[in-house]
Structure formats: structure tokens, C-alpha cells
């Protein structure tokens, strides 16, 4: 649930930044150290949000699979 919540927050952050300025200065100094990040900032954040979401979803599914197994054992 924490991961799902985090993914939602990252998505909202990204969405708000895009709506306000057109660009997202979300990664701060990191973009100066790695210019590649500045070019793909939006893509990096979208991937991060989706990754959190997918991992959260997968963990929920995996743990829900355990219940019948535990009950039968």
C-alpha cells in the first residue's frame, strides 16, 4: 500500500509540475550532474511512478496467492 501511495504521489507531483510550468524541475541538482536526466526528466518520473505502482500491485497479488496455500496447509 505504501508503494501504491508513493506512486500516486509521484504521479501527482509530475502532473502538477507539467501543468504549471510545462517542464518539471523535480530532480533538482541531479540534472546538472547528469544532463541526460534533464532531457528525460518526465520519462524518468513517469517510469518511476509506474514501477512503484506495478511492484505494489505484484506484491498484493503474490500475498493474496498465499492465503489459500496457508489455509490448505
Amino acid at each position: 500500500m505504501v508503494l501504491l501511495g508513493l506512486s500516486w504521489l509521484v504521479y501527482q507531483w509530475l502532473h502538477a509540475a507539467r501543468t504549471i510550468g510545462g517542464t518539471c524541475p523535480c530532480l533538482g541538482q541531479a540534472t546538472l550532474w547528469f544532463p541526460w536526466l534533464a532531457r528525460f526528466e518526465r520519462e524518468v518520473l513517469a517510469s518511476l511512478a509506474l514501477w512503484f505502482y506495478l511492484v505494489g500491485l505484484a506484491l498484493i497479488v503474490v500475498h493474496s496467492l498465499c492465503k489459500p496455500a496457508r489455509e490448505t496447509s
Binding site: W36, R39, E43, A46, S47, L50, W51, L54, V62, H63
Partner: protein
């Protein structure tokens, strides 16, 4: 009980084939339609190939006079098709689409022992969503067909270890020669092919395998040289090599790979890391060496060769997509095992990290890895693919171009047209003089052409139509003075002007300034 057909469909190579068909068929359905014929240009060199084929179709005798830094096979085939069914831009563009299908098929065949359905699907998605790939897949360009048929040649040589099949080696040599006659960059696969054949046959049979393939290659290559209108090795090779002049070499050095193009596609890179966990790729020595040598050759050329054009990116995308697909196969098998066995989340082993029954890799790595590959593809590749398709849907067409409509109106009375916009000339159904179809940077770099010589050619042909940009006309006194001597401005669009010879008595472009003054504005 399973039937034989059921087993066949579930066998990994067939499943991978079904997987790759989904993205390919979806892309073909999107691409096919009037747009394929009507769009002015899908890529930089689209117009070159269309105009070369149109000239060869109408005036084959002038072929040897054409300045051509590429082999002739693609042009000859297109010219033949143009003569048979008419001059349609869709014909060479469809050939590129077919070549893409052949490339995907060859890639699947080469990694057949390491792929399943998910791997095949990933292979198609990785390749099709690559930087520039949607454009190159439908453009009448040479790079994609050349590498595609060279890969098919490699796939034909792929046999089980220790087996030498003579007809396959002869087909490999023949097909590689055909691919080379599309573009010499097809030879990029040669080191990988040699290493793969060595890994398959061993030292004992390598020499005999090589002789059969080489004989077929040399024979086919020689026949095609005879069939070509010209075969000037200096013209074919020199323009692609670094220039001797330091000034030009400095300019050429600007044409280098931007690693953002590769790093901008991190999903196959991430998936490729998991390829090393795949037991199949470890077992299959020939596939592993082929993919790695191909990647190494492409990286070596990207690092060392200048000028390096953007479409050379295909050479990197092909092996990366293959490795990425193998990684996705491993991840999907791990996820499948978690689903089937309900382990390890339910029955974690006592010592440390939970592992699946058949693998020493921790299960969370499979879950997190699969999520990372999917997230990176959706975050990076998917938006790029969608925006590329959207952009391609809105490319200008022949019908919407004023320049094209003016050329079409006078096409019967225009023998020659000089323009830098080859796509406009092709869609306007007019011919460019053979020496002036390929007026590329390479010709200027190597001293084959300069502005003075170019305008001498133009004066020699005295074309009835000239399409140039307004800025070029103002910058080049030779152009401005020639246009003043008997041309009428007939159309203007996005800074490009269409001038027709006064002898055609064309309708001049209405003067907006005068009209505004008449209305007192």
C-alpha cells in the same frame, strides 16, 4: 490430451513468432492506407530513392550518368515495379515494411531457443518503438532493407551445432550479396556471421562451410555488378569515408552518435541485463556469440566511424532488442513459476532470500525487474512511439502541397526540374537531371561538387522548373541570376518557391502586396 498441432503452437519458437506478430501486424495496419502513397517524405533519403527509381523507370539509358553513391539493386527493383504498376511511392515504402517483417522473423529465428511468447512480444515492441524506427520502417530508404536481408542471410546459416547444411550456406552467401547490393552496410553482420558459423561447425568444418557461402556470395555479387547500370567503386566507397581535408573532417565529426538516443530507450538495456540469467542463452553458444559480436561491431562503428548518420542506430537497436527479448523471456518464466508454485512468498526458505525451485535468483528480483522493464518501456518508448505515429499522420501530402500541384499541372511540358526537394519532384511527376538527383553533403565534402559546378549543370540542362528556397535564392547569386533570365515565380509555400520557365507561359503567383495596396491596406 494434447494434439500434435497444439504442441506445435505451444513450442517456444512458434509462440515467440505469435508474440512478435502482434506489434508487427498492428503497425502494418496503421501504416497501410492512402498515407503510404501520398505523404511527401517519411525520412531524409526517401526522396533520393524515389527520384532515382523514377528516372531509371522512364529513361533507363541515363542510368550510367546518374551520380549514385549506393549500389543499384533497390533502385532497379523499384524502377521495374514503377514500370509495371506506375510510379507510386507506396511501392518502395511497402518493401521497407516487408523487410521489417523479415528482420523480425530472422531475429526470432536466431534466438529461437531462448524466447517464449512474452519474449517475442517484447522483441517486436522494443524494435518498433526504437528511436526513429517507425519512420524508417515506412520510408523508401536503404538502411532497413539492407540490414533486414543481411539478418535473414544470417538466420539461414543458423543450424544445430556440428551440422553443416550446404544449401543453407549457399542461400546465406546469395542473400548476403543481395543485401550488399542494397547497401554495403549489410556487411556489418559479417563478423557476427563468421563467429556464429565457427561456433556451430567447429574448426573442422569451418573452412568448407566458408567456401560454399563465399562462392555463392561472389557469384551473386558479380552477376549483380553486371546488371547494374554502373559500378564505380570509388563513387560507392569514397563518399562514405572520412574526408582528407581537416576542415571537412571537423564538419564530419559533428555527425556522431548521440548516446541520448540509446539511453533514451532504457527498457531493452534493462531487459538485456536479465538475459544473462537466462539458462538458454548460456547453453546456446552460437546465438550468444552472434548477438554479442553484432552489438560489438555496431558499437565499434559508432565509436570510430565518422560521419555516423542517425539511421545507423538500427545496427544498435537490432542486437539490443534481441538481448532484451531474451531477458524478458527469463523474467516471464520466473513470474510464471511464482504463479504456479505459489512460492516463495508462501513458503520462503529458511535461509535468507526466497528463491524459486529451479533458480538461484531471488524472486523479488524477477518481480521488480519485470516491473522495471514494463515501466521503462511505458515511460520512455510508448510516448515516443505514440508521438512519432501522431507526427507521421500529420506529415504533408502531395495533394496538400501547392508546389506539387503546380508541377503536376505542367508535368507534360516539363522535361527537367531542378530542386533540392526530391519528394516534391517525385510527387509532381517530374524528373531531376541524373547528375543532380543525389546532391548530398557527401558530394560537397569530397569535392565532387560545389555551387559553381552545380549551377553549370543546371544551365546545361536548362530545366523548365526550379524549386528552391527563398533564402537559398537570395544567398546564391548564380541561382538568382539564372532565375532572372526567363523564369516566373508560380508558387510559394513554407519559404520554398516554384519557378517555371517563361516558355511554358505559366500563371504567375498573384502579388499579394499589390492586392493589399488596391484595397488601401
Amino acid at each position: 490430451m494434447q494434439t500434435g498441432a497444439g504442441n506445435f503452437l505451444r513450442s517456444p519458437p512458434v509462440a515467440a513468432g505469435w508474440g512478435v506478430l502482434i506489434p508487427y501486424v498492428l503497425f502494418v495496419l496503421w501504416a497501410l492506407g492512402p498515407r503510404l502513397d501520398n505523404v511527401l517524405s517519411f525520412g531524409g533519403d526517401d526522396g533520393f530513392e524515389l527520384c532515382k527509381a523514377a528516372l531509371l523507370a522512364r529513361l533507363p539509358d541515363l542510368g550510367p550518368r546518374m551520380w549514385n553513391d549506393q549500389p543499384w539493386l533497390h533502385t532497379l527493383l523499384n524502377a521495374m515495379l514503377f514500370r509495371l504498376v506506375g510510379e507510386h511511392a507506396a511501392l518502395p515504402r511497402m518493401f521497407s515494411l516487408i523487410s521489417l517483417g523479415a528482420l523480425l522473423g530472422a531475429m526470432i529465428y536466431l534466438s529461437r531457443r531462448s524466447l517464449n511468447f512474452a519474449g517475442g512480444l517484447a522483441l517486436g515492441c522494443f524494435l518498433l518503438a526504437g528511436e526513429g524506427m517507425p519512420n524508417w520502417s515506412v520510408a523508401a530508404m536503404l538502411e532497413l532493407p539492407a540490414i533486414s536481408w543481411a539478418m535473414v542471410a544470417d538466420a539461414l546459416a543458423a543450424t544445430p551445432p556440428g551440422v553443416v547444411v550446404r544449401w543453407r550456406l549457399v542461400s546465406t552467401g546469395t542473400l548476403l550479396a543481395l543485401a550488399c547490393h542494397v547497401k554495403f552496410t549489410a556487411l556489418l553482420v559479417l563478423p557476427a556471421l563468421l563467429v556464429m558459423v565457427w561456433a556451430q561447425t567447429g574448426r573442422r568444418h569451418f573452412a568448407s562451410a566458408l567456401v560454399w557461402a563465399a562462392l555463392a556470395f561472389v557469384t551473386t555479387f558479380s552477376v549483380l555488378v553486371k546488371l547494374s547500370p554502373s559500378f564505380d567503386l570509388e563513387q560507392l566507397l569514397t563518399p562514405h569515408l572520412p574526408a582528407s581535408s581537416a576542415l571537412v573532417a571537423a564538419e564530419q565529426a559533428q555527425f556522431r552518435p548521440q548516446w541520448g538516443w540509446v539511453l533514451g530507450d532504457p527498457a531493452p538495456l534493462m531487459a538485456a541485463l536479465f538475459a544473462w540469467a537466462q539458462p538458454a542463452i548460456k547453453r546456446c553458444k552460437a546465438t550468444r556469440t552472434f548477438t554479442l559480436v553484432l552489438l560489438g561491431t555496431a558499437v565499434g562503428i559508432a565509436l570510430c566511424h565518422r560521419p555516423w548518420w542517425r539511421y545507423y542506430l538500427i545496427h544498435l537497436q537490432v542486437p539490443l532488442a534481441m538481448l532484451g527479448a531474451v531477458g524478458v523471456t527469463w523474467l516471464s518464466r520466473q513470474l510464471g513459476e511464482i504463479w504456479r508454485t505459489r512460492s516463495p512468498a508462501c513458503h520462503p526458505p529458511a535461509s535468507g532470500l526466497p528463491t524459486t525451485s529451479s533458480s538461484r535468483y531471488p524472486v523479488p528480483a524477477a518481480i521488480m525487474g519485470a516491473a522495471a522493464v514494463l515501466a521503462l518501456w511505458c515511460g520512455f518508448a510508448l510516448p515516443r512511439l505514440m508521438s512519432a505515429l501522431e507526427e507521421m499522420s500529420s506529415y504533408p501530402t502531395g495533394q496538400s502541397s501547392q508546389l506539387v500541384s503546380v508541377l503536376r499541372r505542367y508535368q507534360d511540358r516539363i522535361q527537367w526540374c531542378y530542386t533540392d526537394l526530391r519528394d516534391v519532384a517525385f510527387h509532381g511527376r517530374v524528373l531531376i537531371p541524373p547528375e543532380l538527383i543525389v546532391v548530398s553533403r557527401k558530394r560537397f565534402w569530397h569535392g565532387d561538387l560545389d555551387e559553381r559546378r552545380l549551377w553549370n549543370w543546371v544551365r546545361l540542362y536548362a530545366p523548365e522548373a526550379i524549386v528552391v528556397s527563398e533564402t537559398y535564392r537570395e544567398r546564391q547569386p548564380a541561382c538568382a541570376s539564372w532565375l532572372k533570365q526567363g523564369y516566373v515565380l508560380c508558387a510559394k509555400e513554407h519559404g520554398q518557391e516554384c519557378w517555371l520557365a517563361s516558355s511554358l507561359t505559366p500563371d504567375p503567383l498573384p502579388q499579394t502586396e499589390g492586392r493589399l495596396e488596391r484595397f488601401g491596406l
